[in-house]
Subunit: 143 residues, 2 copies
């Protein structure tokens, strides 16, 4: 599967979040061409600021693999990770991170550009418009 | 209770982690002079890099209060928070963070000095030596 196809899977998760009234961010983690974790933001349902899509995907992927390091894994996430999630991705040592929309207000690349593990490769802008539109639509409806 | 006394409670948690073979970091969260959460590092037991003391304390405190923001709370943690935990503490909007030992290798103040919420007050160095010695002792025994 291509980056676009995996990002579509992350978008399915983000749309699920949207329908549940959660900020619409979705993520999947892929290990050797297999999706081993799918998650979406659950901060409202769990009343927990740490319940971002990426955090839950990391926990689920480690569970699936039986080890805490995700060195052969790629994370696909619809929106640029925040500082917390970038820090978690660093600890987990993912080999690659692919994100859709940039987040100039909360994204790690603005506030903690060195947060990721030095060996982690980053690809941005995959299906960026679709990922960003979902966020815009969500916040417009909330106003 | 004083900062030192609350840090002693965090140290009890850190010592518990030590005995369990976990990196010895402990945390408590205090809201209006009452401890509402106690936690220690559980990354090994849970096989989860996100299971830092601070992360679990945030989740537990939000649960205790029934809301995800910890604006009237102080976190006491034996070691300087990492980037992930600093990002989480920012989302939770704690009013104050008190830590013991500095962590020049992983601490947020080196890698993401702007990670915390701008209104969060930080106090460092409370029982620093005792907190640091527990870490040193742990890593020396592991060698």
């Amino acid at each position: 599967m291509t980056d676009q196809e995996y990002m579509q899977k992350a978008l399915i998760e983000a749309k699920q979040a949207f329908e549940e009234g959660e900020v619409p961010v979705g993520a999947v983690i892929v290990c050797r061409d297999r999706i081993i974790a799918r998650a979406h933001n659950l901060t409202e349902r769990l009343t927990d600021v740490t319940a971002h899509a990426e955090m839950q995907a990391i926990t689920a992927a480690a569970n699936a693999l039986g080890g805490k390091y995700l060195t052969d894994c790629t994370l696909y996430v619809t929106v640029e990770p925040c500082v917390m999630c970038a820090g978690a991705l660093a600890w987990a040592q993912l080999s690659r991170i692919v994100y859709g929309a940039s987040d100039p207000k909360r994204g790690f690349s603005v506030f903690a550009p060195n947060a990721l593990h030095p060996r982690t490769e980053v690809t941005e802008g995959v299906l960026a418009e679709e990922c960003a539109n979902l966020m815009k639509d969500f916040f417009q409806r909330r106003r």
